[in-house]
């Protein structure tokens, strides 16, 4: 479904992604795992065509996103949905209007048909009866479920999920995770999930990609990742502060900073 080759993205002198080659298969849940600053959000934005790569190619069902026209990109996007980290519901519209938005924009369907479709999508995320509420009245978990319904409104082939469970209570997070899994199985859509939630990620993934410092350090099925003997992978999965991935970014010696400042007494 989606293939990248030599994908590189730099901001100024900083390389966010370096030579990424990946293959996302249709009808599967692909989870991109990585810590903060590992480049996973950048990767998702590139795959979604929200940013263009510094070099390399992104093939989306055979077409290079970096080379096609804006018009063609918009045509492709009708087959794509995206769930944003902070939901990104349109503030000026109600829940109903938010879910109906893509349908009203891109189809000539009757009011009744749109009503039926929106009701179905809202039922899928368990939020029927909230149609007239404004996004500002919703809790984070509810907003995300509405955003989920909106992402599915056009029955997309591919859905991108940016940190779908972050900032949610365990129940909401669980609901979102199982929604992703169930919808992918039922509708045979392709899901690309970016997350740092290791457990949720490994649970729903058919394929896992682990990113570190802009590079893929491990790839495969959940079990392959869990049983990997790469110390970096193990450290990330177990969430240990000490290991090959440094937790501390401090540049100077701690003792010196504590004791060598003027006016401080050196404790020896």
């Amino acid at each position: 479904m989606i293939k990248t080759k030599g994908l590189t993205k730099t901001y100024g002198n900083v390389a966010a992604l370096n030579d990424i080659n990946l293959h996302i298969k249709g009808g599967e849940v692909t989870v991109i795992l990585g810590g903060s600053g590992s480049g996973k959000t950048t990767l998702l934005r590139l795959l979604a065509g929200l940013e263009s790569p510094t070099s390399g190619s992104i093939m989306f069902s055979g077409e290079d996103l970096a080379k096609i026209s804006r018009k063609r990109l918009y045509e492709l996007r009708l087959r794509v949905g995206m769930l944003f980290q902070y939901s990104a519901l349109l503030n000026s519209l109600t829940v109903y209007e938010n879910v109906a938005f893509p349908l009203r924009e891109h189809t000539d369907l009757d009011k009744e048909v749109i009503h039926t479709m929106v009701t179905m999508k809202l039922e899928q995320v368990g939020l029927r009866g909230f149609e007239e509420m404004m996004p500002s009245q919703l809790s984070g978990g509810m907003a995300k479920r509405v955003a989920f319904a909106r992402a599915l409104a056009m029955d997309p082939q591919v859905v991108f999920f940016d940190e779908p469970t972050s900032g949610l209570d365990p129940i909401s997070a669980g609901v979102i995770s199982s929604l992703i899994h169930e919808t992918t199985v039922k509708t045979r859509m392709t899901s690309v999930v970016v997350t740092h939630d290791v457990q949720a990620g490994l649970d729903i993934a058919d394929h896992v990609i682990l990113l570190w410092q802009g590079e893929i350090i491990a790839e495969g099925k959940s079990n392959t990742i869990k049983n990997s003997d790469d110390p970096r992978v193990q450290q990330f999965i177990e969430g240990r502060p000490n290991g090959p991935i440094p937790f501390s970014r401090s540049q100077t010696a701690y003792v010196d900073d504590l004791t060598h400042k003027p006016g401080c007494v050196r404790l020896e």
Binding site: L78, P102, E105
Partner: protein
């Protein structure tokens, strides 16, 4: 000294780069007017937001401007015994100058600031990306509709400002200060040419366009943080206010 000159140079280069960026933004956005399907409904919604939303403040400032003009004008004219000219003095200063400029400044504070803040927040909360992902061009839907709405709304508001100001000036001049009603109205009608009205309204259309472009640009380029949006909003209001006065001088010098 060298550091000072270096800093000065960097600031100038930065300012010119900004100006160029804003111009490219303006041209690429306005071009979409012809390149995208007509978005009538969305124009009307924005027209309502910036126009009707600014109505009360425009009426209040219009009324007091007319009143104070009549008051000041009367006390000046009465010294040389020409208070009969009060009607035309009030009308000319309102329609030619004070109406467009004061209405534009109030419009900047009311509608312009909210445009910058709204667009900035839409960026912070990824709503722009969401539109993009739903294959709706945010530049056409969000920026263009607001710019056009500003360019249409401001002349209409200036018209209202002028009418309210004239009525308020009449009230103060005739009812309070005792200028003869027939003379007041006669002078007003006699001295105002249609070109004055036309000049005032055209001017305000340019002001509206300018305010729309600057405010959407500042929102679009705001650093996507709480601080960034706050700063962009303040800057947008400042730049708009100054640019309205500068543009006013330039346009007026062409008309006179």
């Amino acid at each position: 000294m060298v550091a000072f000159i270096g800093q000065l140079g960097r600031n100038v280069i930065h300012a010119i780069a900004k100006l160029g960026d804003a111009s490219i933004f303006a041209v690429s956005t306005l071009r979409l007017l012809f390149a995208t399907p007509w978005q009538g409904k969305h124009f009307v919604m924005q027209l309502y937001a910036v126009g009707v939303g600014s109505l009360i403040i425009i009426i209040i400032t219009g009324a007091f401007t007319g009143m104070v003009l009549a008051l000041q004008g009367y006390h000046m004219l009465v010294k040389v015994g020409t208070e009969a000219l009060l009607g035309s003095a009030v009308a000319l200063s309102l329609i030619r100058e004070l109406g467009p400029v004061l209405a534009a400044l109030m419009f900047v504070g009311r509608a312009g600031s909210s445009i910058t803040a709204e667009i900035g927040i839409m960026r912070v909360t990824e709503q722009m990306d969401a539109l993009e992902m739903m294959a709706v061009n945010p530049q056409a839907r969000v920026m263009l509709t607001r710019i056009v709405a500003c360019a249409i709304a401001l002349p209409l508001l200036v018209g209202i400002f002028d009418v309210v100001g004239l009525a308020a000036g009449y009230l103060v001049g005739v009812e309070m200060l005792g200028v003869n009603s027939g003379v007041y109205i006669g002078e007003t009608i006699d001295k105002i040419a249609l070109t004055d009205v036309y000049a005032g309204l055209t001017k305000s259309m340019y002001f509206g366009l300018l305010v729309g472009i600057i405010c959407t640009y500042m929102g679009q380029r705001a650093t996507p943080t709480t601080e960034g949006v706050a700063k962009a909003t303040t800057q947008a209001v400042m730049i708009c206010s100054v640019m309205v006065l500068v543009l006013d001088y330039i346009i007026t010098s062409f008309y006179l």
